[in-house]
């Protein structure tokens, strides 16, 4: 029997071209034994949802530094739900103002990670959340 692997999609929605953070996280998740599907820059919410569906991922990590998170994140969540993937945990990283964090969590985002977050924290949260427990986590 092959052990069940955690599959995570790491995507950069929107127009900012700074993907170092996304790559650092992707690499850390890889080193934690996860299978990371990396889709690259400038993804639309539609592309992200489609990839999440085809790849049957457990979690989606969105890296946004453009400030457009309040537009992009709800759309991704909506599309995942439309596709029958409401079980997929969505994480957001990047530059997210403090006042937006509660609103994102309310929408159904599983965790928000600002600059300085330890990759171990993200790994631990993904492991916990994809194991079935559906609490929310914040560390910014």
């Amino acid at each position: 029997m092959v052990e069940r692997k955690i599959r995570v999609l790491v995507a950069k929605p929107g127009l900012d071209g700074h993907d170092r953070g996304a790559k650092v996280v992707a690499r850390a998740l890889r080193d934690a034994g996860m299978e990371v599907i990396y889709t690259g820059l400038r993804q639309t919410p539609e592309m992200i949802a489609e990839s999440a569906l085809q790849e049957d991922v457990d979690a989606v990590g969105l890296s946004i530094l453009s400030g457009a998170h309040m537009a992009l994140v709800p759309r991704v969540l909506e599309l995942l739900r439309e596709n029958g993937q409401e079980h997929v945990k969505v994480f957001v990283g990047g530059i997210i103002p403090d006042e937006d964090i509660p609103r994102l969590l309310e929408m159904g985002v599983a965790g928000v990670y600002g600059p300085g977050t330890l990759t171990d924290t993200i790994i631990e949260d993904i492991r916990k959340l994809t194991a079935g427990k559906s609490e929310q986590v914040v560390s910014s």
């Binding site: 539609e46 592309m47 029958g84």
Partner: protein, 340 residues
């Protein structure tokens, strides 16, 4: 409704789920494959292999675009299986082939699945064959398989695909590299990608001289069974008649990022498929492929049955004796087999 029925109805989420079950080798995955097997055998399976960075993903992207375009003859539904390596240390993986396939986003006639190799060394994952079968049954008529960036010996793809493309680029090696056994032998079509770069003439010359030195008459991959000690006699099945001329791998120059050379490449792929059908080689390849799959399953099943019957301690005890040189490996196997 079972997962397999949903897949046949065209439910993409069900297909994605089933592929996960197949990858994880679960009971649901096996049940799905059993149910879907009668529906398989319709797709043209195309393998794309070559060294890392030769442009396999970009080429697969372009091939999919061409097969989707209806202006030529017709539009095909395209399934893509892209394999990237798993870390030998952590088992994790970065699957990055989708980065080059963004042109295909939003097309419901395309289904892309990334797979980690999960410890397999032949350039594919153990479950790739099952994943291909599921896509075949789900109605994808062209299935493109992109292997792990391959060196010289990752030749599993030739057993799975009907048509194997080996992608080279200028500057990868001289004519001695070109006559070594392994990956170049398995090519049905040789692609020189990045053909706008210097050295393309030399690369083509090296490949052409390799082809002129001789090419295998019939590609039946008897020598690439996964494990040695394979002594099943050649079965006396009625070998399909191989008629007509042998296929000589054409060399096609492409620039995948721009789409240059792609119409010619697609034409060669279709010619090769036609050749396989006309010559009877398709049946032969199909038979060889199913045989290696059967052997593999047989081996796994026998192994797990044996493990059920022999206590784990017996195994470790034997290993201890082996380590102390009190038993030879051959004697050890005899002992262990006697116990079940």
């Amino acid at each position: 409704m079972t997962l397999a029925q949903d897949v046949l109805q065209g439910n993409r989420l069900a297909l994605a789920r089933l592929l996960t079950h197949i990858e994880n080798n679960t009971e649901e995955g096996k049940a799905g494959l059993k149910a879907l097997f009668p529906q398989t055998g319709k797709a043209h399976i195309i393998g794309v292999t070559g060294a890392p960075g030769t442009g396999k993903s970009s080429l697969v992207n372009q091939l999919a675009l061409h097969f989707r375009r209806s202006d030529s003859t017709r539009s095909y539904r395209v399934g893509i299986v892209a394999v990237d390596p798993s870390s030998p240390f952590t088992g994790g993986a970065i699957l990055g082939d989708r980065v080059r396939m963004r042109d295909l986003a939003g097309d419901s006639g395309v289904f892309i699945r990334s797979m980690a190799s999960r410890g397999s060394l032949g350039g594919l994952a153990a479950a790739t064959s099952g994943v291909v079968q599921a896509l075949d049954a789900a109605g994808y008529e062209i299935i493109l398989i992109e292997t792990v960036g391959a060196g010289q010996a990752e030749v599993d793809i030739a057993r799975l695909a009907h048509t194997t493309l080996v992608v080279e680029t200028p500057g990868l090696g001289d004519d001695i590299q070109a006559i070594k056994a392994g990956i170049l032998e398995i090519a049905d079509i040789l692609v020189i990608n990045k053909a706008d770069q210097p050295g393309v003439e030399a690369a083509e010359r090296a490949l052409r001289s390799m082809l002129q030195l001789g090419h295998p008459a019939a590609h039946v991959f008897e020598n690439h069974q996964p494990k040695p000690g394979h002594e099943i006699p050649v079965l006396s099945f009625s070998t399909p008649e191989v008629t007509g001329n042998h296929w000589i791998p054409p060399i096609v120059r492409t620039v995948a990022t721009e789409g240059a050379g792609l119409p010619e490449l697609v034409e060669q792929i279709q010619l090769h498929y036609q050749y396989l059908k006309d010559s009877g080689n398709l049946m032969l390849r199909e038979r060889t492929r199913l045989r290696s799959e059967l052997d593999l399953l047989l081996r796994e099943t026998l192994m797990s049955r044996w493990r059920e019957r022999v206590a784990e301690e017996e195994y470790w005890l034997t290993l201890d004796l082996l380590t102390q040189r009190k038993l030879s490996p051959w004697e050890a196997v005899e002992e262990l087999l006697k116990k079940c």
